[in-house]
């Protein structure tokens, strides 16, 4: 008889009827899990640099536990060695001593309070570890491909045995801390995957050699952890189904499937199907990868083993996992980034409130922050990592109700509007356009997945409707209108002012605005100069290059896309090369001529570029109306690109922060 921790009845949840396969129980080992939803272990850098759990970490997990509506909720992987070679993140939780158990118990308690299944993960980061020390460790001292990581020390045979023991000891502590299910992390270049891969394991002792030898340490870990877990606590493992390391002679997909079989033979109760390493040259989870691109790997895994298969990787919406579970091609829907963006995402699915989900836009800012020793942040969710700060996450009703005029129905204005209205203010949003969304109406037309950015507006629209925000679309705010309405507060969220070319020929007919280009309002010739080398310019250039135009980017920033986070920027660099886009950074347009433009570099060197259209994507702050508002003595806030042109994330975060302050 399988053990049930908490009783859940989904019969009253409308989402359980729409997605019946997501809300049916599954047995893992001897544990009965009420549904097929899992918040997968995700580092958040919210713990102390000494490895102790913090309030921030506990509250972060509590919200995710509420979100899984009785499913599996895994805390981040813990490192297990006192020397900290296995520590991959400055705020990673530690478990190398019993002293960490009380803190870890706070997390399992928080998960249990939400009647969810508490998962504990063992994670030695291997060759991507040693974030606080000089050397990381691995099966062999294979040099790092990426400079960001520390040099690798080859583990001695005794060191390997100690590492196996550390996994077992940490598992015991996890059980003492109250966790219900155990997981070994063997993904993306962490230690377990280092042992398995022919790329990083060149040992000649019993922990190297052929695939069985390379799996030996993993097998011993699984067996050791199983021994301490006993019959009632299942043990799973996250394993690469494809390493995507064929360029450096890593394992073949067939070998990876053999590792799945060996893990099952060793006693694993489930496998989480993953793919790719941090060193892989192929993209796996960025926005340019279509949703569901990798789901076939779960099906293949199920053809090789008989234990449950779990998978995440660009499965942001419930339809596909529900379908695949129904078809027997997947057992559990893992969720990582989607629940960073909206911790209650699956709960909203269950409640039939999918339109209230704030969707992840797959920008990978969360990863970029973690790799740079910063606490977790979400591009699209301002509350992420602030769950423990009540005044931020659950702001109180306003003490004094105000009439708030928000100028601009873009992402900054909308975010501010619903937060302010929710707190009791009377909010009026004005926009000269007939539609909401601001410049995202145009930005969403850029290729490589930028249409997903629009999900932000869809979410904000629903929030505004629920909060009773008043819209005045097709209404341009003028000095007269402000004087007539005399609101208590004005929030300028007008978006940026597009730059002009302050040079000879700056009034040429060949100069057009990026927004008009992206919306198809203007004709663009075959040869184009895109003025501005930030994200909007790159998106616009790719949009035009996809139409077959010859595009050259000229911009003042020292590097193109400096406003794009590094975990996504490399994709744009590749796409620009593939689409034949030439980029001149650190340059300005000195003159617009009949033939094209004359470019001037920072050091004074000049050269001509032939083109028939010049597209302005360079932007500056928008200060119109600011003086009018100030002269009337009205409280004023300027947010989003109107304050300083940045990106969607800044707009949303600005809007939220002002919305809770009004």
């Amino acid at each position: 008889m399988a053990k049930t921790l908490f009783e859940w009845d989904y019969s009253d949840y409308p989402g359980a009827k729409t997605y019946p396969h997501l809300f049916k129980p599954i047995q893992i080992g001897n544990l009965m899990v009420p549904n097929r939803i899992k918040y997968a272990a995700t580092e958040d850098n919210l713990n102390g640099h000494d490895g102790f759990v913090t309030d921030a970490g506990v509250e972060y997990m509590r919200q995710r536990a509420i979100g899984v509506v009785g499913g599996l909720c895994f805390m981040q992987g813990v490192y297990m060695d006192e020397k900290r070679q296995g520590q991959g993140y400055v705020g990673q939780a530690a478990c190398w001593d019993d002293k960490f158990v009380p803190g870890l118990k706070r997390i399992s308690d928080a998960i249990h309070e939400a009647k969810a299944v508490a998962g504990f993960q063992l994670m030695d980061c291997g060759r991507v570890g040693a974030v606080e020390v000089d050397y990381c460790h691995g099966p062999s001292a294979v040099p790092q491909r990426l400079r960001i990581f520390k040099p690798v020390q080859e583990m001695t045979n005794a060191h390997v045995k100690t590492m196996i023991r550390q996994h077992v000891d940490a598992a015991r502590r996890g059980i003492e801390a109250g966790f219900d299910i155990m997981e070994i992390s063997g993904i993306v270049g962490y230690l377990i995957s280092n042992f398995i891969s022919s790329y990083t394991n060149r040992r000649t002792d019993e922990y190297g050699g052929d695939l069985r030898g390379r799996m030996q340490a993993v097998v011993e870990i699984i067996q050791g952890v199983k021994d301490v877990c006993g019959a009632d606590i299942p043990v799973g493992i996250r394993l690469c189904s494809e390493e995507l390391l064929d360029d450096v002679r890593g394992n073949t997909p067939e070998e990876s499937m053999e590792t799945y079989k060996m893990a099952e033979e060793a006693g694993a109760d489930y496998i989480s199907c993953t793919l790719g390493w941090q060193e892989s040259i192929y993209p796996v989870i960025s926005r340019d990868i279509p949703m569901g691109n990798w789901i076939h790997l779960a099906k293949r895994a199920k053809e090789h083993v008989n234990i449950p298969i779990q998978m995440a990787y660009r499965l942001f919406k419930p339809g596909l996992p529900n379908e695949k579970i129904g078809a027997g091609e997947l057992d559990i829907w893992e969720i990582c980034r989607s629940m960073i963006a909206d911790p209650h995402m699956p709960k909203k699915v269950a409640q039939g409130k999918e339109d209230e989900i704030r969707h992840c836009v797959a920008c990978n800012l969360c990863l970029a922050r973690l790799f740079r020793d910063a606490p977790m942040t979400c591009y699209i969710n301002p509350v992420c990592a602030h769950e423990w700060q009540d005044e931020f996450a659950n702001p109180k009703a306003a003490e004094e109700e105000k009439e708030v005029m928000i100028v601009g129905a873009g992402p900054a204005g909308l975010e501010c509007a619903y937060m302010a209205a929710r707190r009791g203010h009377e909010v009026h949003v004005y926009d000269k356009r007939d539609v909401i969304g601001g410049t995202l109406n145009e930005a969403k037309n850029a290729p490589y997945g930028d249409d997903e950015l629009w999900t932000c507006i869809e979410y904000q629209k629903v929030m505004c409707e629920q909060a009773g925000v008043n819209f005045h679309l097709g209404t341009e705010v003028t000095e007269d209108l402000i004087e007539e309405e005399m609101p208590d507060t004005v929030v300028l969220a007008t978006g940026p002012a597009y730059s002009r070319i302050e040079a000879s020929g700056g009034d040429s007919d060949k100069i057009v605005n990026l927004l008009d280009v992206m919306s198809g309002k203007v004709e663009v010739a075959e040869t184009v100069v895109m003025y501005g080398n930030r994200k909007p310019g790159i998106g616009g250039a790719l949009h035009l290059a996809k139409q077959g135009k010859k595009v050259t980017i000229v911009g003042k920033e020292k590097s193109a896309g400096f406003d794009v986070n590094p975990s996504f920027k490399w994709r744009y660099m590749i796409y620009m090369r593939q689409n034949g886009i030439t980029v001149y950074n650190d340059c300005d347009i000195e003159e617009v001529t009949d033939e094209g433009v004359i470019v001037k570099a920072f050091d004074g060197v000049r050269w001509p570029i032939q083109c028939d259209t010049v597209v302005i994507s360079d932007r500056g702050p928008n200060e119109s109306l600011k003086k009018t508002v100030q002269s009337e003595g009205i409280e004023l806030f300027v947010i989003g690109d109107a304050l300083i042109p940045r990106n969607l994330s800044s707009a949303v975060h600005d809007g939220y922060r002002v919305g809770i302050r009004l």
Partner: protein, 177 residues
């Protein structure tokens, strides 16, 4: 103001050559500093070879992201050889790559090299230039070999001391030792 293209290109060309020239001279100025600090017991050649190792170690790291086995052993060796030749060219050399007579052997030939000229200007021996080049490339290959799990070696075959004529280096797979 119309652009005088010839003038702009010649200006950039001058700047490129000045920059290369200054970098080469700066190396030898620092070499002098290092020799002075190393003391009378140190041999200048040893100091320079150690510098070549440090350069090679760092440059080797930048090679690793580009290493790729998808085109097989021959393709990999050719990409590596082109990267080594490209490094030489960036410094102002004129290096090319061609297949050797034996399988798995690639020759890197440098027809023109500015380093001997700078060495002469600062009183460094000519043979030091060739030996440092060889040591730097050997150090680069240490990391590349370890990374790709392929033993590699590079040997100086011929060196023209004044930077004229032809310097030849041979890249090949080493015997498994």
């Amino acid at each position: 103001m119309p652009v005088d293209t010839e003038k702009e290109i010649s200006k950039m060309h001058r700047m490129l050559h000045s920059t290369r020239n200054e970098i080469g001279k700066t190396y030898y100025r620092w070499r002098q500093v290092a020799i002075e600090f190393a003391g009378d017991d140190a041999k200048p050649l040893d100091v320079s070879l150690r510098a070549a190792e440090i350069f090679g170690k760092d440059i080797g790291k930048s090679f690793l992201p580009r290493m790729n086995w998808l085109k097989g052993e021959e393709g990999f060796l050719m990409i590596l050889a082109r990267s080594l030749a490209g490094l030489w060219n960036t410094e102002g050399g004129l290096a090319t790559v061609e297949k050797g007579e034996n399988p798995g052997e690639i020759l890197i030939k440098c027809l023109r090299d500015p380093w001997p000229t700078w060495a002469k200007e600062y009183g460094a021996p000519m043979e030091e230039v060739a030996l440092c080049r060889e040591r730097m490339y050997q150090t680069i290959l240490e990391d590349v070999s370890a990374f790709m799990n392929v033993p590699l070696k590079i040997e100086l075959q011929k060196a023209i001391s004044r930077g004229e004529g032809e310097t030849v280096m041979r890249l090949s797979k080493a015997e498994q030792g």
